[in-house]
């Protein structure tokens, strides 16, 4: 069932089925500004869920909380039933299971593409260099980036950088991938190559939570689409339903604006 079919003793305890991500009553403030005001969300194993919503609605914050990059104020998050937001949780172990890719790529500029990818497996998973490089090359080949392995990030196009960032996250063999507006910083003609990578991941059975502004893509790939507004998920429905017959007034308004902007 694992997306990459390689047995991984570390993750053996993670069940292959059932609820992958469970979020209950998640609250998060920055200073006096409460960004998330009680988010409840459940994502099943192998499910692809898209998060949509206006800028600043808390999509990124939600994903960062899931990767434990932001401490939460209230509520709980669990992966396959195991709470990860309690005390005494090994953050680094959680992060090995949960990969995240950022809007601005965040590749390490002082490292070649190959080293960007092999660093975490070598240092966090203690994979020997030769094996880490072999695995990295296999991933690069799969996503058509093999000829870039010795390049430094600033020599790559935005689309290539983002694909490398996805490969870098995959190299840790996560069971869940969080994608935070991964195409928002790209020139329009480079968006497709990144979306194709995500499509391939989805078809390989990767559990994904995707914050995106690409409504067409969300409609295409997601099993469910969640609309985030006022710090809560106000509508959660299959894309066919949410995009054609949104129930909540805020969803209707948001989608109307998207349509007016010619983005749907």
């Amino acid at each position: 069932m694992k997306a990459f079919g390689v047995p991984d003793p570390e993750s053996a305890q993670a069940p292959a089925e059932g609820e992958a991500i469970g979020i209950e009553g998640l609250r998060k403030s920055f200073g006096t500004h409460e960004v998330l005001r009680g988010v409840d969300l459940s994502v099943a194993t192998h499910e692809v869920v898209c998060l949509i919503g206006a800028s600043g609605s808390g999509k990124s914050t939600l994903l960062r909380c899931l990767n434990l990059l932001e401490p939460i104020d209230a509520g709980r998050i669990s992966l396959w039933g195991q709470e990860i937001t309690g005390a005494g949780v090994d953050q680094n172990l959680v992060r090995k299971h949960v990969g995240i890719v950022f809007q601005s790529f965040n590749l390490f500029p002082h490292m070649s593409v190959l080293r960007n990818i092999t660093l975490a497996p070598m240092k966090a998973r203690r994979v020997p260099r030769a094996q880490a490089e072999e695995e990295a090359r296999a991933l690069l080949r799969r996503f058509g980036l093999l000829d870039k392995e010795t390049d430094y990030p600033d020599r790559l196009s935005g689309g290539q950088q983002q694909r490398v960032a996805i490969v870098r996250a995959l190299a840790m063999r996560p069971q869940i991938m969080l994608l935070d507006e991964v195409t928002s910083a790209l020139d329009p003609e480079l968006v497709a190559e990144v979306l194709n990578v995500i499509r391939e991941l989805a078809s390989a059975g990767m559990t994904m939570l995707i914050a995106t502004h690409e409504m067409g893509f969300a409609r295409d790939i997601a099993k469910r689409v969640c609309f985030l507004a006022d710090g809560r998920i106000v509508e959660d429905a299959p894309p066919g339903e949410l995009f054609t017959a949104p129930k909540d007034e805020r969803t209707q308004k948001f989608l109307r604006r998207i349509v007016e902007a010619g983005r749907l």
């Binding site: 953050q91 965040n106 975490a120 996250a169």
Partner: protein, 298 residues
């Protein structure tokens, strides 16, 4: 520089036919003008120096070739040391101090930037340390270390040579400056790099070592090397403790022979040390930029 490369462009100066040639000649003319101006300025400075009423006196006292040569070689029988040999002590002090400063300053910078509540007292201490040693003149630190520590009459610690106390004082003082350089470098690395590293499951220490520090240090190599150029010169201050380094040797020569040309020798020797370091700095910076732009492998 070739400016007359392309063919004439309609509507530009090139259409006249004379345009490109004028431009090309302009380039050569610029070179000629800058050369002439350099010669004129230097010539004027040399002329002022040579025509000054006391010129002959100054040249004899400060730039006398015979004295310079003798000061360089030294002559213990006549009571003065070789400035050329003494510079080795500066080099040794510099190298020892540099290694220690790089380590001590990094520790201070990391402590100052730590966020853990446990480290709070150390944060305060490092702040006081930096404030103190940046505020006190290096000469006073050297004197206090060089004369104060031996006076404590501790075993071993109070029985070191002047050069050792000098290096200790340089390390104390420069670590304060260099830790601030490090701190600026660490702050210059964007938080998103930390997030990216931690999100991959790397521990804080691993992220620091492999992701943050290399970028931070790369960003501050020019100011770091700048501090080290000034460290090379400041090794001369250790002479006040009686260590026979180049400046002290030059002073001994001048007070024995009553000619200051020995200082010119010391100056030239210091320049021979600092200029290569400055050029090396440029090369490091350029190589790094080229490698990252060229992309293709190490």
């Amino acid at each position: 520089m070739s400016l007359g490369g392309g063919g004439p462009v309609p509507g530009s100066f090139g259409t006249t036919g004379r345009g490109p040639r004028l431009l090309g000649r302009g380039g050569r003319r610029a070179t000629a003008v800058s050369t002439a101006s350099t010669v004129a300025v230097l010539g004027a400075l040399v002329a002022i120096f040579l025509l000054a009423p006391g010129s002959a006196q100054v040249r004899h006292t400060f730039f006398n070739p015979t004295d310079m040569w003798q000061a360089f070689l030294g002559n213990p029988k006549k009571g003065y040391y070789s400035v050329g040999a003494a510079i080795w002590l500066n080099i040794r002090m510099f190298l020892a101090a540099e290694v220690l400063i790089l380590i001590v300053a990094l520790v201070i910078a990391l402590v100052r930037l730590s966020t853990s509540p446990v480290a709070f007292p150390f944060r305060v201490l490092s702040m006081i340390y930096v404030d103190f040693f940046r505020g006190v003149p290096l000469l006073l630190v050297i004197l206090a270390t060089g004369f104060g520590v031996p006076a404590l009459r501790l075993p071993f610690i109070s029985a070191q040579s002047a050069a050792v106390y000098g290096v200790a004082a340089l390390v104390l003082s420069y670590s304060a400056y260099v830790s601030e350089v490090y701190r600026a470098g660490l702050n210059s690395v964007h938080q998103s790099q930390v997030a990216a590293a931690r999100s991959l499951g790397l521990s804080q220490a691993t992220a620091l070592r492999h992701v943050i520090l290399p970028q931070a240090i790369r960003n501050v190599i020019p100011p770091l090397l700048n501090d080290f150029i000034s460290l090379q010169k400041d090794t001369a201050l250790v002479g006040v403790l009686g260590a026979i380094e180049a400046n002290e040797a030059a002073q001994i020569y001048s007070s024995t022979v009553f000619n200051y040309s020995s200082y010119a020798v010391a100056a030239v020797l210091f320049l021979l040390l600092t200029i290569p370091l400055a050029r090396f700095t440029d090369r490091v910076v350029n190589r790094d930029r080229r490698r990252r732009l060229a992309g293709s492998a190490l």
